[in-house]
């Protein structure tokens, strides 16, 4: 368990999957993730099984609890590349507009601490759809560097959108600490 001032990260459990399903199917999460289908429990269970198949794991997922121990979101490291030591950060909350809350910043800081200091990763990145202005703002505020913009990579809401790649390197993280 990783504890911050506002939130706690604990291992994601199978019992969390039905909450996750609801959240992932809600518009505020769906418009920001690569998944375009609505998810059912079979999808969720298969995904949960699949992230426990490899050792070392490719994905390490946490449930985000508030101080009253209520599950309020999900975060983790995905596509972990142990050879080249990089990984994508995944994060979403149950509620809309989470990007402006202090909890979000704390979760990303906890994930970075774990990724850089514990797993010895070298680069953490996010891929953000250009329609997700809130996410762009959040990761810019957290001093992630924009590496570029992949042109017209996703089809959403009846048009093409670019995706933006933001990253932070271990040396940049350590300098800011």
């Amino acid at each position: 368990m990783f504890e911050g001032k506002l939130v706690i990260l604990r291992a994601l459990e199978k019992e969390d999957l039905s909450s996750l399903k609801e959240w992932r199917n809600s518009l505020h999460v769906r418009k920001s993730t690569r998944e375009y289908k609505l998810l059912n429990m079979i999808n969720q269970k298969n995904w949960f099984e699949s992230i426990h198949q490899t050792n070392p794991p490719k994905d390490i997922m946490f449930g985000i609890l508030n101080k009253r121990k209520k599950l309020i979101g999900v975060a983790g490291l995905t596509y972990i590349d142990w050879k080249n030591r990089h990984s994508e950060i995944s994060i979403y909350f149950s509620t809309n507009n989470w990007q402006v809350k202090s909890e979000a910043i704390e979760v990303i800081n906890l994930i970075m601490e774990y990724g850089f200091e514990e797993l010895n990763l070298n680069r953490l990145y996010v891929e953000i759809f250009s329609l997700m202005k809130e996410n762009i703002k959040l990761f810019t505020k957290m001093k992630f560097i924009k590496e570029g913009q992949l042109r017209e990579k996703v089809w959403r809401q009846n048009k093409w959108w670019d995706t933006l790649i933001f990253s932070k390197l271990a040396k940049e993280y350590k300098k800011l600490k």
Partner: protein
């Protein structure tokens, strides 16, 4: 009258008998150093790769044939039919046939296949920064650099950037 011999490049289905050739190409120094794959292939790995290929709609791979000689392999991987994009893989295994424009013709055939037959919207190529030849190769076919992933690959005792290049359907001129 001097007749210019037509360069006959074709993309052909990969067969089991090609696998030995693929292992040799992909383990060769020139090819290996420019790929992100970091282990040497054996025939078991290559066979598994081939068996998975058959039922995998996210990958379409071809042998490149030049005047009936097999000179390389190319294909589209990570095909995303929802967002209509894919990544390119291409190797000219016969090193002595590099820089003769054969790869470019093969690439044009492959792009034509991707944009016309698969109706893709965007095709992407990732190139390690020291692989200037490939960067020029894709630029020549109107690929543009979209992003530079910093320190994303560890090779030869240091970090390197990878260039993410792409070509959109609208910018592709059929030959």
């Amino acid at each position: 009258m001097i007749m210019k011999k037509k360069i006959n490049i074709q993309l052909k289905q990969i067969t089991k008998s090609d696998l030995k050739l693929l292992v040799r190409w992909r383990n060769s120094k020139e090819i290996f150093q420019n790929n992100t794959q970091y282990f040497l292939l054996n025939s078991k790995i290559q066979k598994n790769w081939f068996n998975l290929l058959e039922n995998d709609s996210s990958r379409k791979m071809f042998i490149i044939s030049y005047n009936k000689i097999k000179i390389g392999i190319c294909g589209l991987v990570d095909i995303d039919s929802q967002n209509k994009h894919a990544k390119i893989a291409i190797i000219i295994g016969k090193i002595n046939l590099h820089s003769k424009g054969l790869g470019t013709i093969a690439l044009q055939n492959l792009l034509n296949y991707g944009f016309t037959k698969l109706n893709l919207h965007r095709i992407e190529a990732e190139v390690i920064e020291y692989n200037k030849t490939s960067m020029y190769f894709f630029k020549k076919s109107k690929f543009k650099t979209d992003a530079i992933y910093r320190d994303i690959v560890w090779r030869n005792n240091r970090w390197w950037n990878i260039y993410s290049m792409s070509l959109l359907k609208d910018n592709f001129n059929k030959i």
